[in-house]
Amino acid sequence: MSLNKRKMILVNSITYAYKARDFLNEKGIKVYIERVPASMRINGCGYGLRVNNDAEVIAEILEDAGIKVRKIINL
């Protein structure tokens, strides 16, 4: 997987990022919490989940679990 295919799932806050990460880890999905790059922010500072693949599927899993996904961005 090349770096330019990585994506980031933006959530409301760092608390939701950790909640999402724990939830996904329980399902065997590995994600990494990072600060959203400045050029890709929606409304200021924030945190997201960096994923190596299947960002849309993961986002759907999160939405189904009640964790709001704000946007998926390409890194």
């Binding site: 409301n12 806050s13 760092i14 608390t15 939701y16 950790y18 922010r41 409304n43």
Partner: protein, 383 residues
């Protein structure tokens, strides 16, 4: 010094709490939720771990746990955040100033009306009926302490929670004295907002508090606005928890100490802690009853109905002079009104106040025996 002022703040703190509070300075030095470097992320994760512990302890969701500076700040946020112009609220006559003062201020600034209900001690149904009788179409919330910080009398929060659910009212509980001593299950008790100090029964350090909002539909306004590390280009506070209620840098040392305190409690079990403190209070209560000149304000000391707190007086002496004498003999107790004039009005002790005996898990039976010996001595010389 033998410390029996644990209803004010617990002392000593468990070693693990001290260790964690120190680590907040020496290890977790970054600013949580404010940056992306390793130190900021490390402390952010640590704080999230505590959020999870608190949530599990009170049966809530981690994102609904907000850290505040004390229980008073939590109560102010909850009360001022949900009560609207011309609303009506119902509180008990055992409330601390952290409830009556914000409620009274709202009566001046927002035309809010309120009723103060005297609990019927020993009859929970009658207490709940007294609350229900005061509900009117404008009633927005019932706000009650879980237990009196003056006499330890426990309020029937499960029944009051059922009443609030039935009548579609918001239920706010002040768990200042009960958290860490009695189990509090927010869902089981239909509690919408639970307000807590970190430094009492949860064994954290002073300057730490918690507000848990277990209802996503309350639309609570923020009490303080400022930076949250999220949605920072917006001029409005975020509409999601916990950020909405955590403006400014949080108290990392306080939060970590709460996590360690909860670990300490879980390491023993909450019922074991309550049993130990209850047994000490039962012993002291039954001894005090037999000392001539000692006035007590509850008829019985019952498991589950009383927190480990005993309010008392000696003769006609003012409680402040009683605790002052006790201080001379090496005992730390608090006298006066305990910031709860409503409760003292209820018990008829607005003038004298009460001396308050409050042990912790670290208190020993031998210390209680020394305390009783001292009270016997003072009973002969005072009043």
């Amino acid at each position: 010094m033998i410390y029996f002022d644990n209803a004010a703040t617990t002392f000593p703190k468990p070693q693990k709490v001290i260790f964690e509070a120190e680590k907040a300075i020496t290890v977790y030095g970054g600013n949580p939720g404010r940056g992306g470097h390793k130190m900021a992320m490390r402390v952010s994760e640590k704080i999230y771990e505590v959020r999870k512990k608190v949530a599990k302890f009170f049966n809530a969701e981690p994102q609904n746990v907000s850290f505040t500076l004390n229980c008073t700040m939590s109560l102010n946020t909850a009360i001022k955040g949900i009560v609207r112009k011309n609303d009506h609220v119902i509180i008990s006559s055992l409330e601390h100033n952290s409830v009556i003062r914000p409620v009274h201020k709202l009566s001046l600034t927002k035309n809010v009306t309120y009723d103060v209900i005297e609990p019927v001690i020993g009859d929970d149904m009658k207490t709940v009926e007294a609350f229900e009788e005061k509900i009117n179409p404008n009633t927005r919330a019932i706000i009650t302490t879980h237990a009196s910080n003056v006499t330890g009398v426990v309020m029937p929060i499960k029944k009051l929670g059922e009443l609030c659910r039935k009548r579609n009212l918001i239920f706010i509980v002040d768990g200042a004295q009960s958290a860490g001593v009695l189990k509090i299950d927010m869902k089981e008790n239909n509690i919408d907002i639970l307000c807590l100090p970190g430094h009492k029964g949860l064994y954290g350090i002073t300057g730490s508090g918690i507000m848990i909002v277990n209802n996503d539909n309350l639309g609570i306004d923020s009490l303080i606005e400022g930076g949250t590390g999220s949605a920072s280009a917006e001029v409005m506070m975020p509409d999601f928890q916990p950020d909405r209620f955590e403006a400014g840098t949080v108290n990392t040392a306080g939060i970590l100490s709460i996590g360690a305190g909860i670990d300490f409690i879980n390491g023993m079990s909450i019922s074991e802690i309550y049993r130990h403190e209850f047994d000490l209070c039962s012993y002291v209560y039954n001894k005090l009853r037999r000392i001539k000149n000692v006035k007590l304000y509850i008829d019985d000391f019952k498991y589950g109905k009383n927190l480990p707190i005993i309010g008392f007086n000696i003769g006609n002496a003012n409680s402040d002079s009683v605790v002052s004498e006790l201080n001379r003999y090496g005992f730390a107790l608090r006298g006066g009104l305990h910031c709860s004039p409503l409760a003292h009005r209820f018990y008829g002790t607005l003038d004298s106040g009460m001396a308050r005996f409050a042990p912790s898990i670290f208190s020993k039976r031998s210390e209680c025996e020394k305390f009783i010996n001292c009270i016997e001595l003072l009973g002969k010389n005072i009043g």
